[in-house]
Symmetry: C2
Subunit: 339 residues, 2 copies
């Protein structure tokens, strides 16, 4: 079965110069994948014809005259940017021409547009943003949701996130019965806010493989496969993690630059640093999925480079080829709508 992915080539900090090498890499690595490249035709075509002629039967340009900027508000985008590369890329799923879509555009606009165009799966009230995090256990990743699609979630909505996260872990991480953890401020039953306590009850009574309460540090311990939390706490956690990583990197840089002597001493350690970078490679963890919609939409980091952007497209291919949306629809129908 051939998979078709629509790619928003214009949004994100890097725009087309970042997106073009990424799509060429994806076309090279996936002989059975077709790409619909959405963006300004006059700027895309010359470069693609020059470097991508050998894949010319597997890419098509879909012209879009507008671009959603990183500052555009979701409301403005919905009302006034109906001809943007982001909107058209999502429309292509709705029209049945694409199996999934990738964009590096601003999260709020992407979320609002995808929600408006594709609608949620029956039984799912709100979409969630999900992403995989590395753990200390080799080969194991943890899926975290919601990372900020919505806030003020009800217990029922958080339970729906658990069902979706568990299904995704089954499909993309090949885990038969994924362990689901509920984010809390302590492991004891008396801890937590009112919403969390109610979700706990729903999970205890469910058919999911519920592990119980977990805490922030468990994101990286591999004790569970899926972590469910409110979009507010999820977004704060995600950005705090990004913040400390940037802080540590800037500290290393400032120490290195503080003396040429330290710089020289560090040279023999470069192979070591390369290995460490490979292990925690943030590029590989690019690509958050909007879950719960009638279609696969993958959000790339706005500041992604070409390698990272290609990983996001790869994630969309993998989700689409495994039929994630259909599987979630079936699971939700089974677990949530029987009563």
């Amino acid at each position: 079965m051939s998979i078709t992915i629509s790619v928003d080539m214009m949004s994100g900090d890097g725009g087309a110069p970042v997106a073009i090498p990424a799509v060429l890499q994806v076309l090279k690595n996936n002989a059975d994948v077709r790409l619909l490249l959405v963006g300004d035709e006059s700027s895309l075509r010359p470069k693609l014809e020059k470097s991508g002629s050998q894949y010319a039967d597997r890419w098509t340009i879909e012209h879009a005259e507008e671009v959603v900027s990183m500052d555009d508000s979701p409301v403005q985008v919905l009302r006034r940017k109906k001809r943007s590369s982001m909107r058209i890329a999502i429309n292509l799923i709705k029209e049945g021409r694409a199996d999934a879509c990738v964009s590096a555009g601003n999260t709020g606009a992407l979320m609002a547009t995808a929600h408006y165009v594709l609608k949620t799966i029956p039984g799912i009230e709100r979409p969630a943003i999900v992403s995989a995090f590395p753990t200390v256990k080799v080969g194991q990743k943890t899926l975290l949701l919601d990372l900020g699609a919505t806030v003020d979630n009800s217990p029922e909505q958080l339970f729906q996130f658990a069902v979706m996260g568990s299904t995704l872990a089954q499909v993309i991480h090949n885990i038969e019965s994924p362990k689901v953890g509920l984010m809390n401020v302590g492991k004891e039953a008396i801890k937590g806010n009112e919403v969390v306590k109610q979700v706990h009850e729903l999970l205890v009574d469910s058919e999911l493989n519920y592990f119980g309460y977990i805490e922030g540090n468990d994101i990286f311990t591999g004790s569970v496969d899926v972590i469910v939390m409110d979009g507010f706490a999820g977004n704060v956690a995600l950005k705090s993690i990004e913040g400390i990583v940037k802080f540590l990197m800037s500290t290393v840089k400032s120490v290195l630059c503080s003396s040429p002597w330290l710089k020289v001493l560090a040279v023999p350690a470069y192979p070591l640093l390369r290995r460490i970078k490979q292990k925690v490679d943030p590029d590989r963890y690019n690509g958050a999925m909007l879950l719960g919609l009638n279609g696969v939409v993958v959000k790339s980091h706005g500041g992604a480079n070409s390698v990272a952007f290609s990983y996001a497209i790869q994630e969309a291919i993998s989700a689409a080829s495994q039929g994630v949306v259909t599987l979630i629809r079936d699971r939700v129908a089974m677990l949530l709508q029987e009563d």
Copy 2:
């Protein structure tokens, strides 16, 4: 003015073997500080008389026969461990014999005991846990609260946290008019949950130097001096940060151990690693303060080593000698009780 600090010598993972070297270091560094050392006299006295005889006029043992374990629930501790080192150390503040108290015991029990014994300052409904984080700006730290003292906070309670955090930043970080940020999932006015939007209004109308909404990564950018958030999100952020740091350290270790060759290559880089460690030294950031009570209570990390524990005591000394509680009481009276 001489300051007296009561120290819970028994709680925490390390117990007395960690606490004794820490108090000796503090006595050495602070010639005007007196310590009330709370714990099992028979195990403390021999070691203290052996190594601490030169400071014998500045330390006293206060015998306590019980210890709060890391698993004791707050309710159990309040009801059944009235003769624990933690409880007695806090009682000493209430009795006017100590200016501040330090414990490495479990957070829930410490919070509950301190709240019960000391009560909140008039105008403050709930206490908060506050801690300082390093930023990319040299010498600047950010105070974060609440890190998990309570959850389900009302807008008014979060505003009270802002008043307390701002006062603390003035006193211990010497900032005349600290910039206060409100944690949110985006910087735009339409973002956020209902509670956050209401706190925003309270802050806009206040006399505090309100910066506006900030996001998780701003903890480390130094764009504000104080960050206010609900104890649920605060605790998740704190533990997620601890989790990624541990994950990165374990990755570095596993790469080093993967080949003797890499280990050899890394040797010349050790001075570099030492410098980096100095810069981000987690020991220095040990010591979270329970804010809003009629007394200074500092919580050391349960797994703190002696150096880290001594930093927590130093923090208590600094807060007590600057009269943090009185200053917060005055500021709260001025800002919160005028109407």
